[in-house]
């Protein structure tokens, strides 16, 4: 399977030409880390194991066996409200496209993980704070609809500041739209695992992030409904250090497990294996498996 263009570009970018840009300071322990080392360590600080926020492409290349076939990539946001504040909304989008090399806040598609074909969605905080507008909602919806058609398990990595203000109520309605898609997928026998990464809040946490069969969270990720600042302003007191962290949610019983990034792929492979019963043959599945470089299935492999 040839390496896709985006992945080739992504890897070439890992080492910037500029000397200074090759070093990154860990926001947690303050140590200076050589960027290629950080990339090689899955964007985890080798010193204090702080989990840096990951680019969607890095996340995908860390997880998938070989290729990744994107869907919905052609969908681009419009400007339904004609929004302007300091700059017009289309300009904000353009700026984020250049900065993040992404077309929107989520990348969706098919891949295989540890030999299991999956529908995979990865949100990226680098694009408008991972906020959900019409395109994020549409791509997630298409992901669940395609997963349902093809009888594939679905994995979604969330990272979001919530609904996107600049698309107003059309953004809020994506919570309803994605919910309906998740529900239909689930009722049809689909198996859904969500992985909440830093940060997962607002309209995304209050919809598909918390509708999965199994909910994982990356170690120390901030997860909640209201933002920390909003709560502090409302109650006018400082919040405890671990408030709204993955570990806090685990203790309160809101999620199934907290996973260190280094163990994530292994954990997902085990979880996918438990869901093998939910996978049934479907039309076009063989062609899809070829496209994502997964081995062809025998009847026993699904038994």
């Amino acid at each position: 399977m040839p390496m896709p263009e985006w992945l080739r570009l992504r890897r070439a970018e890992a080492v910037p030409a500029d000397q200074a840009a090759q070093w990154t300071k860990c926001p947690k322990c303050g140590s200076m880390i050589y960027r290629p080392d950080l990339a090689a360590n899955a964007w985890v600080c080798p010193n204090c194991s702080h989990h840096f926020r990951m680019h969607a492409f890095d996340r995908i290349s860390m997880l998938v066996d070989s290729d990744f076939v994107e869907i919905g990539g052609e969908l681009l946001p419009g400007d339904p409200l004609g929004w302007t504040d300091k700059v017009p909304y289309p300009q904000k989008l353009q700026r984020d496209r250049e900065k993040s090399k992404l077309t929107e806040g989520v990348v969706c598609g098919f891949a295989s993980i540890g030999g299991t074909p999956v529908a995979l969605g990865v949100m990226d905080f680098n694009f408008r704070g991972g906020t959900m507008g019409t395109v994020v909602g549409e791509r997630i919806t298409q992901l669940f609809e395609s997963a349902r058609e093809r009888h594939l398990p679905c994995i979604v990595f969330t990272a979001s500041g919530g609904a996107r203000m600049e698309e107003g109520m059309l953004a809020l309605m994506q919570m309803a739209k994605t919910t309906l898609a998740v529900r239909r997928f689930h009722d049809d026998g689909g198996y859904y695992v969500s992985v909440l990464t830093d940060p997962t809040t607002g309209g995304v946490s209050a919809s598909f992030a918390f509708q999965a069969d199994v909910i994982l969270a990356e170690a120390r990720a901030a997860i909640g409904f209201a933002g920390r600042r909003v709560i502090e302003q409302t109650i006018r007191q400082k919040l405890p250090e671990n408030f709204q962290t993955a570990e806090f949610l685990l203790e309160k019983g809101a999620i199934d497990m907290v996973v260190e990034r280094s163990e994530l792929k292994g954990k997902l492979m085990r979880l996918l294996d438990y869901g093998i019963g939910a996978q049934r043959p479907a039309n076009g599945r063989a062609a899809l498996l070829r496209a994502i470089g997964a081995p062809p299935e025998s009847a026993e492999s699904r038994a």
Partner: protein, 316 residues
């Protein structure tokens, strides 16, 4: 101070003057018909000027008017109501009132958000901001409705879900997500009406419905104007500007296809004729139910799916 209450002051003074003049005229043998008529004409003029066209921010203030009919007023106007309490796990959230009801003879499950009228009631109802227990009560009531084949009728009026420590500890996001998840698959008709403020996910959690109705001067937005201003510009004080940009009025939302029907209010707002407004909302809900109850459950779910599926989908 509420901006509408502020603008109403002159009108209320005029109203009192007219009333006084009328009383006076009734007691005295002088004819004051002309004076009264002049004042009434002036009153109507000012009223048209103040309320004929309202800015989005004025609509927000109208939606928050202290005298506006609240969720409980709609519940009280039903033929009968038997409240059901609690989420069966933690407590009864009084920000959400729900239970069995009859609406024009029809058995339904009615659910309303209520902000509370006086200070004591506001505190009791947490100013209409539901906690996770409130949404879990909704889930339970929708399941009950589904079990018994009763339509679900909701009245939406909240500035948003409660953002407190306790609500986060008990997984507010999960509660809202599951409320949406429950409504998504209910096999009974769901009619939601935004009667005041439709604030963000905390409102939507009661409004993933087959028909979404909205009172003329209600607002429904992705975040409260204060919240949006804080998120966008780090300054809740710019709420008026946010309200203008968010496209949160009933006309905007009808245009976007997010709201199916707008129920008119009298000039000056719903609180000018609370009984009439409540009655016309209930009539509209009843109408919507009549059209939905004849639809087979599978078809109903399918239509609900398609209704939301097209919002923000690329034009074909």
């Amino acid at each position: 101070m509420n901006a509408i209450v502020e603008r109403e002051k002159g009108l209320i003074e005029l109203e009192q003057r007219i009333a006084a003049l009328k009383t006076h005229a009734a007691q005295q043998p002088v004819d004051m018909t002309a004076e009264i008529r002049a004042l009434e004409t002036k009153y109507a003029e000012i009223q048209r000027e103040v309320f004929g066209t309202m800015t989005p921010w004025q609509r927000v203030n109208m939606a928050r008017h202290p005298k506006r009919p609240l969720g409980s007023d709609y519940i009280a106007a039903l033929d009968q109501f038997d409240e059901l309490h609690g989420d069966r796990h933690f407590r009864d959230d009084r920000a959400i009132v729900g239970g069995f009801a009859k609406l024009r003879g029809r058995r339904v499950i009615a659910i309303a958000q209520d902000k509370g009228r006086d200070t004591k009631e506001k505190v009791l109802r947490n100013f209409g901001m539901p906690s996770p227990e409130g949404y879990r009560k909704v889930i339970r009531l929708v399941q009950l409705a589904d079990h018994l084949g009763l339509p679900v009728v909701t009245f939406v009026d909240t500035s948003g879900a409660d953002p407190g420590i306790g609500s986060e500890e008990r997984a507010q996001a999960e509660a809202i997500a599951q409320s949406l998840y429950e409504l998504a698959d209910a096999s009974v008709p769901i009619v939601a009406t935004v009667i005041g403020e439709g604030g963000s996910g905390g409102a939507l959690a009661l409004a993933l419905a087959d028909r979404v109705l909205m009172l003329e001067h209600a607002v429904y937005s992705v975040a409260s104007p204060e919240g949006a201003a804080a998120i966008l510009w780090g300054d809740a004080g710019r709420a008026e500007e946010a309200a203008t940009r968010l496209k949160l009025t009933s006309d905007d939302l009808l245009q976007f296809g997010i709201v199916d029907e707008v129920i008119p209010e009298p000039l000056g707002g719903a609180h000018r004729d609370p009984v009439g407004v409540v009655a016309s909302v209930l009539a509209a809900v009843d109408n919507a139910l009549s059209a939905l109850t004849v639809v087979a459950p599978e078809e109903l779910r399918d239509r609900r799916y398609r209704k939301f599926r097209r919002i923000g989908a690329p034009a074909t």
